[in-house]
Symmetry: C2
Subunit: 356 residues, 2 copies
Amino acid sequence: MSVPVAGPVLVVGSGLLGASIGLALRRAGVDVQLQDADPTVLAAAVERGAGTVRENGMPEPRLVVVAVPPDAAGPVMADACRFADATITDVTSVKALPLATALAHGGDARRLVGGHPLAGREISGPAAARLDLFDDRAWVVCPTEQSDPQRVQDVIDLVVTCGGVPLRMDPDDHDRAVALTSHTPQILSSLIAARLLDADPEAVTVSGQALKDMTRVAQSDPALWQAILRANAASVADVLAAIASDLDAVVTDLRGGVGVATHDVLSRGVAGRQRVPGKHGTAADAYDVVTVQVADRPGELASLFVAAGDLDVNLEDVRIDHVLGKPSGLIELSVRPEVSGRLASGLRERGFDVRA
Amino acid sequence: MSVPVAGPVLVVGSGLLGASIGLALRRAGVDVQLQDADPTVLAAAVERGAGTVRENGMPEPRLVVVAVPPDAAGPVMADACRFADATITDVTSVKALPLATALAHGGDARRLVGGHPLAGREISGPAAARLDLFDDRAWVVCPTEQSDPQRVQDVIDLVVTCGGVPLRMDPDDHDRAVALTSHTPQILSSLIAARLLDADPEAVTVSGQALKDMTRVAQSDPALWQAILRANAASVADVLAAIASDLDAVVTDLRGGVGVATHDVLSRGVAGRQRVPGKHGTAADAYDVVTVQVADRPGELASLFVAAGDLDVNLEDVRIDHVLGKPSGLIELSVRPEVSGRLASGLRERGFDVRA
């Protein structure tokens, strides 16, 4: 069983994640001490209510949360081991390299247990912090064989106190997982988006939802991503090299007549997509889609959702597929297959323009 | 000015697109003749009301719409030139190769004007046809220097009669455009999804919206896509080769320390993403996002959208970001920046859990 994590907790690094952890811990009544190399950032986090500035003479922390960028996390974790009783964790999105760096800097392997909350925002800094940033979010906890079990439990208590859902995983397994599921998609999104720079402006008008979906994460901050990729370079390079090999085969195949290799990649893609998790752990494609055309006016979506509610149909997902240059939109409602017929006929009875 | 297209119109190929064109033309009162190599498909299209089966002795068509797969379109277009007065168009998603094939088979260059409606469904066949499939959708019309201007106007009339928005483009420009905006994203989506086949099942649980978005189109039918890619192989191979070159540079850079090449791709990706068109021709990222946590019950979304309507705020886009293993969801509402503050405060006043 988890209990509220024992304080005081020292949060080193008071940006978005550090300040949000402070807010979440204080929500649970835990004493939070804050530190940041940048006095302006530190003051903003205090102003937000994330904790109080750590000063000499304060009680020693029972837990230190290192919330600095990935390339700085290792030495900061090692330094935090000066608090002889403290458990040390971090929140960077890569796990093996920061730990190895911390150990190389004299960190205590028994007390170092890394973590990675799967939560974030497109904006950064303490002003963007939210006390509920981690609520119901997965937060990977990465013990090693050297980890003291009680220290692992301390980090799990931190996660639960912050509202998160702990997932235990080996650091190397974690890094290979995010290389595949997060870092590789980031690079491929950037690779596609980069091609658009060379394109005729008219060409880009001939595009649909696929291009929009595939380039969304290409908006992310290059400096932050460079640091993330540097810290997980080997695992990301392994996945990208495998993709490069498939890609080369497709290019050769396209130049030579489109035979086995292209079809093979397309077919493996269909099978691989089945493994992407959907809502509540269901497969991503377990829903039927009911498409409705609505006018682009305030209240139009509302009347649609009111009708769905009246029909006692729960909407599992919603996509708005805008049409070209016209003030109207196609709404795709994802629902469980057993209710899609009822939803479609019920909406039609209410006068909605449901697509066949 | 466009007028309803002059009939009779012969639609060759009575699948999803052909039958939908038949339905749209008959909505406008145009006489439609149908043909299909498969008698079952043809009967289903007639049953749907898409037109009547073409028989000898019927009036000759003024316009022939070739709606067969890309690898069959060229010879069918050439054959349609036997109707000496008819304008000939097609609806395949590649344009140069079918035209060249038609000319090689003795087609009449003055009367051949290709087209590509940017509309489709995940399911195929005449049973899936809809009379409003093309409403407000872009439909690229690809004349050449040999095209008779009146024949081009006939195809534009067809597009407008079907409810579409004609966009004129050179066939080669069109094919380079879709290679970049549609065919390349398809391949890259398949390449990422294919990697998931090798992954530990646990690894795939550590994933978020990026993986879901980036693998969505990998679900598409491999056989259809192989035909599309075969018909546009050179243009797709050019884009993919450029991506392969960037990708190789990133892999080398990651193996060697993450320097200039990775940052360059990430930065060019940010700039390229700015060129993806959004709704109504606006840039894709011109909206503010207001995030609201709602319970996962029928009617919950409805009350949120009713409130937005009451506040007279138009929702430009909606994304449901499901949280891990819990019956609740984060709803991201995209709105014009000038109304986002009013929406957030208004929703809070109404008791909604708006994220800071």
